[in-house]
Symmetry: C2
Subunit: 146 residues, 2 copies
Amino acid sequence: MSNNNEYMSLKLENQLCFPLYACSREVVKQYRPFLDELNLTYTQYITLMVLWEEKQICVKKLGEKLYLDSGTLTPVLKSLETKGYVTRQRSKDDERLLLVEITEQGEKLRELAKTVPTRVGCSIKLSSEEAMTLYNLLYKVLDGMK
Amino acid sequence: MSNNNEYMSLKLENQLCFPLYACSREVVKQYRPFLDELNLTYTQYITLMVLWEEKQICVKKLGEKLYLDSGTLTPVLKSLETKGYVTRQRSKDDERLLLVEITEQGEKLRELAKTVPTRVGCSIKLSSEEAMTLYNLLYKVLDGMK
DNA sequence: TGTAATTAAATTGAACTCAATTAAATTATA
DNA sequence: TATAATTTAATTGAGTTCAATTTAATTACA
C-alpha cells in the first residue's frame, strides 16, 4: 500500500507556513485605517516603535530587532527622515554605522499612536490566554530558527 | 497615578502582530532553497498547491483561498503560464471569469515538490502538539477577522 | 606598517502586496 | 427592454521584501 503522507502534506491547510503567512498579512491589514490617520505604513510604524524605546540605534541593530535588512530599512528611514520623525547621521566613532535618532516630532507622534494597539486588538478574537499561547509559540518558532 | 498601559502596549514585544509578521517572513524564507530548485517563488508555490487540489479554479476563488487579490495573482498566474504549468482562459458561461487550469507539466511538478514540506518542517522547532495548537490559533484569528 | 578579511549601509533588480481605478460582462430592476 | 448596479480581472502606482553586489571603513594579522 502506497504512502500518501508526502502528497497529503502538499495541501495548503497541512502546512503551518500558509496560515502564518495569511494571518500575518490580514492582521497587518487591520492596522491600515489607524496608521492611515498617522500617515504611516506598518513598516514605518514598527520602526518608530523601536525608536520610541531606544531613542538612538544603528541600522544594523534596528534590522536585528525588526528582522529586516538595510535593503528594506534604508528607504523606510529616508522616508521617516523626510517626514521629520528621525535623523540619520554617521557615527563619529565608526563611520560605517548610521545612527538613527528619534526627533521631538517623532516623540510627539507616540502620543497619537498610543491607542493603535488597543484598537487593532479588538479585531483579534482571542482570549488573553490564547493570545499569550500564540505569542509564545511564534517566538519559539522564531528563536528556533536562528 | 497615571495609567501606562497604552504606552506599554506600544512596545514591539507587546503586540501580537509583530511576531506574526516576523515569523511569517522567516518561515517563508526557509522555503527558498527548496523552491529555488524548482524555480518557484513562495507565491507561485502556494498557487500551485491550490491547483494541485482543484485542477481548475477561477481567479476570484483562488484569491479567496490564498487571501490575495487579482493585483497580486494576475502577474503570478501569467508567470506560471509562461513556465507552462497553468493555462488561463475565460469561462464560456461567464466571460468575466478567468479559469486557471493546471497543465500536465504542472502536475509533474507536484512529484518534485512533494518533499518540500517535510524538509522545511525540520526547521520549525515545535512538537506536533505545539504545531497543532499554533495552527488552530492562527486559523482562529483568521476566521475571526472575516 | 601594509595587505587581507570583515563589517555596515547603500544600491540594484526582481517579485510581491495592496488600494484604487478601469473596463467589460452580467444581473437586477424601473 | 433599457438603464443602473454589481461583479470579475486587469492595470496602475506606491511601498515592501529580499538576494546579490558595491563601496567605504574598520579590524586582523603576516
